[in-house]
Symmetry: C2
Subunit: 188 residues, 2 copies
DNA sequence: CGCGGGTTTGATGATGCTCAAGCCCGGTGG
DNA sequence: CCACCGGGCTTGAGCATCATCAAACCCGCG
């Protein structure tokens, strides 16, 4: 809970009372390693704020290969925004790479929450804009950098993640096969 | 101006008075084909809403190759959000592929605008979230589809754009060389 | 006319993938 | 405590996709 208030306070300041109200919209949940928060085809009915552990979202292509879209360690938000906002079947899976606890904000509560604390429109606007900035940047990287530099860029951006992630997951994130990443790292 | 009000009304409804105020924050501008709205290294000091014509944002890699990030035809918003929000040197160029007129929202007016019409926080939140959804989708495509299917996906998503864009620009958007796209389209 | 940008075509080559095998290592059950 | 199992990592040979470079073409425009 503390982590969440800290997260919000980066962009908007809430009174003590507003903080209480804000927190009341969230429920604490947890998952064990390898359990799913969301599967492709389901409707994404809320948003998770990770307080401890590690979630990950990924898509599966028609050949059965996974492509990691996002890692969500402590202090990160995650959902399938497409499914969540448009109420369409999800295109992503979300699962736990490690045992995880998170705060869950139900979609059906969101509009009400915005009505009660309009400042939160602002918070989530800024959140979306920051997220947008980093996705555009990732797109630039994937269009203009070779695999090795995409790897270096990932290491530079997520130095703590790189420590705890299996190589396989990193490979999937930067868009190469695990075999190729292995060769790349062991080449002279 | 009409197009802009129409755009806003998709997500929030403004009173007649609010509409007037909203529009007062914009100034009409225009560019000729090949002129720049923004260059790499400059600070992006506002946001453009295209009313007629075609803008484009792209990055240039260290080998001098262009990678198109976005096309902005009538009714689309465009800026370098990284530079705009963080006030850092832009990583993108924005130029006109065709003669263009657009409405310009100065960054320095934005906070004030949000204060006067808080509903606009909501509008720009939704705008950012929709944009985020489409960038995530583009990322999924670039990770999981071969060039041919990325091309088809582009055609399906932007049927009107494909008509008026030089092949070279489409190639740059989907992440292949113009030569390769040409061969792909002419292969049996 | 001729110039210049976009497109086409072909030969060659690099990057990264596929498939298959072997290895390492931590976990689990006997 | 040890044997086995499974998942991740490594390694290699062959291959597909897409890039590079160079030349020729087309066509609108000055």
């Amino acid at each position: 809970m503390e982590l969440l208030l800290q997260n919000v306070s980066k962009h908007v300041s809430l009174s003590h009372e507003e903080q209480e109200i804000f927190l009341s919209y969230f429920t604490e949940k947890s998952l064990k390693r390898k359990e799913y928060l969301l599967r492709e085809g389901e409707i994404c009915r809320g948003t998770a704020f990770v307080t401890k552990g590690l979630l990950r979202s990924y898509s599966v292509d028609k050949n059965g290969f996974e492509h990691v879209i996002q890692f969500a360690p402590d202090g990160w938000w995650i959902n399938d925004m497409y499914s969540h906002n448009y109420e369409k079947p999800a295109r992503l899976f979300i699962d736990a790479l490690e045992d995880v606890t998170f705060l869950w904000l139900q979609k059906s509560d969101r509009e009400n929450m915005y009505k009660v604390i309009p400042k939160l429109e602002r918070f989530f606007r800024i959140l979306a804009e920051n997220s947008l900035i980093s996705y555009k940047n990732r797109l630039i990287n994937s269009l203009s950098l070779p695999a090795k530099e995409r790897y270096q860029s990932f290491c530079a951006e997520y130095p703590t993640l790189i420590e705890c992630l299996p190589q396989k997951q990193v490979a999937s994130y930067i868009g190469v096969t695990p075999e190729f990443l292995s060769k790349m790292l062991n080449a002279t």
